[in-house]
Subunit: 280 residues, 2 copies
């Protein structure tokens, strides 16, 4: 299973601390060693970094640490290829423009025999089920709405399309237009909302800690979303199975989950991924 | 005037030597100091680097030097903002997907009062005339051709659209889908074809030389395209005013130019750019 990392904030924030733990899973503390990608929104623009080197040893990842890019919305992905070659065209996150905005998308899972009809507006460049799913979501949204609809309408449409696509298999994903960030769990996706009073956090994958109180203001709100928790001394929440959440300004602003919610155990989630042929 | 740099080859080649001279024009030997961008095709995928720091001092540019990415098609741009703010969304090259391929575009010049109607397939995210022109070209191509047409038809269509758009002002641009590279000159655009027997080249902007014979094979063909020549001891060719060229595998494969061709002097080209409010 590949791993996902996302961030959504109410003020531009650097993701270096979380990314440091996350990137070590690409080749050091875990074996997601077939490249990685990360996209940062900066206003309406996007900085996108892709690399086919393992994130733990990538010069691009070193740059991200050194540069401390501040962003309100970030999506990152480390890849363990289970099928198909490792190529730049297959590296997440994928980007397209819709309604005059850039959209980023990253996926972890596997959609079996998922070949939606070729879109009129969006076509996949590579050959992953992930990019096909992203293009299908955008295609349907763009066909339904010539202009960007209000947030409720958009959220409901994404929820409906997500439910359709997850019938093909595992569909953990994140998607953002630089304004809000959608996160959906088929199996494992965790998040933490950091806000005042800020405390200290310890990375699970590295002997590193940070005192957020020293680097934030009292109004800051930051959500970090990851396949598995990144820190050991904070209380991470989990998305329920088949739950879709819309984050905005560091808060959950909309959610759609089955009642009663079912939360998947980490071991079970990893076993399901393994059984689906998604490496873990 | 911003400056353009492009490369088109028959084998993946690193652009580090040319980029070294070019980047120094972003803040050291010249004053195009409002950010830069560079896109590398790698197969069907693209590595895209944008930075709002001057290229001469950018850590992203340092990474490009250190990493020596090999590519068959590269487009780079350094920017001197003359109007509008410097923002990531306004940083060239711009990228869109068309016909299941990524397309990159960078522009140097100024299109006066150029506001084409909003496209159905492509919309600008930032507020530059350049991105609007790119979106208009893609929009028209996509409207005319549901699938990618043959190379002659594509070239003729691009030539026609280019002629339309250049009636609005200065329109030096490069555009590539990772297979071929289009270059068009309103004023200044130079190129050099390097092939066997390879010689030595000296950068104009830096005390650096390279012996291409040592880093190539006899079959390599590499075209480098730049606003102004980058080396002092090689014979650069110039695109004629209003000439459109399609490069493929390091060769000119199609060209469209007025007869007799008119070649603009460097001083005249810079003066025209100045008069049009494009910084030089």
């Amino acid at each position: 299973m590949c791993q996902l990392l996302g961030m959504n904030c109410n003020t531009p924030t650097d993701i270096v601390f979380s990314f440091e733990g996350f990137r070590r899973r690409g080749g050091l503390t875990d074996h997601h060693a077939d490249g990685f990608g990360i996209g940062f929104f900066e206003g309406k623009g996007v900085r996108l970094f892709h690399d086919d080197k393992p994130s733990a040893h990538s010069p691009v990842a070193d740059l991200i640490r050194a540069y401390q890019i501040k962003s309100e919305n970030v999506i990152a992905h480390i890849r363990k290829a289970t099928q198909g070659q490792t190529s730049l065209a297959n590296t997440h996150p994928f980007m397209r423009e819709m309604w005059g905005e850039y959209w980023l998308f990253a996926h972890n899972g596997h959609l079996k025999n998922y070949f939606p009809p070729a879109g009129e507006f969006y076509q996949a460049v590579g050959n992953t089920d992930s990019e096909r799913a992203f293009c299908a979501i955008l295609e349907q949204l763009r066909c339904r709405f010539t202009r960007k609809p209000d947030a409720d309408t958009l959220f409901n449409a994404v929820a409906e399309l997500t439910a359709e696509i997850r019938s093909y298999g595992l569909f953990n994903f994140m998607m953002s237009n630089g304004d809000c960030l959608f996160a959906h769990a088929s199996t494992l996706l965790h998040y933490i909302v950091r806000k005042a009073p800020f405390g200290e956090a310890h990375l699970l994958d590295d002997d590193v800690k940070v005192d957020f109180a020293a680097v934030t203001t009292p109004n800051d709100k930051v959500v970090v979303i990851a396949t598995l928790p990144l820190t050991g001394n904070e209380a991470w929440s989990q998305l329920a199975v088949n739950e879709l959440v819309m984050f905005c300004d560091g808060d959950i602003v909309r959610r759609n989950r089955p009642e009663p919610p079912v939360y998947m155990g980490v071991e079970e989630g990893l076993a399901i991924a393994r059984a689906a042929g998604v490496s873990v």
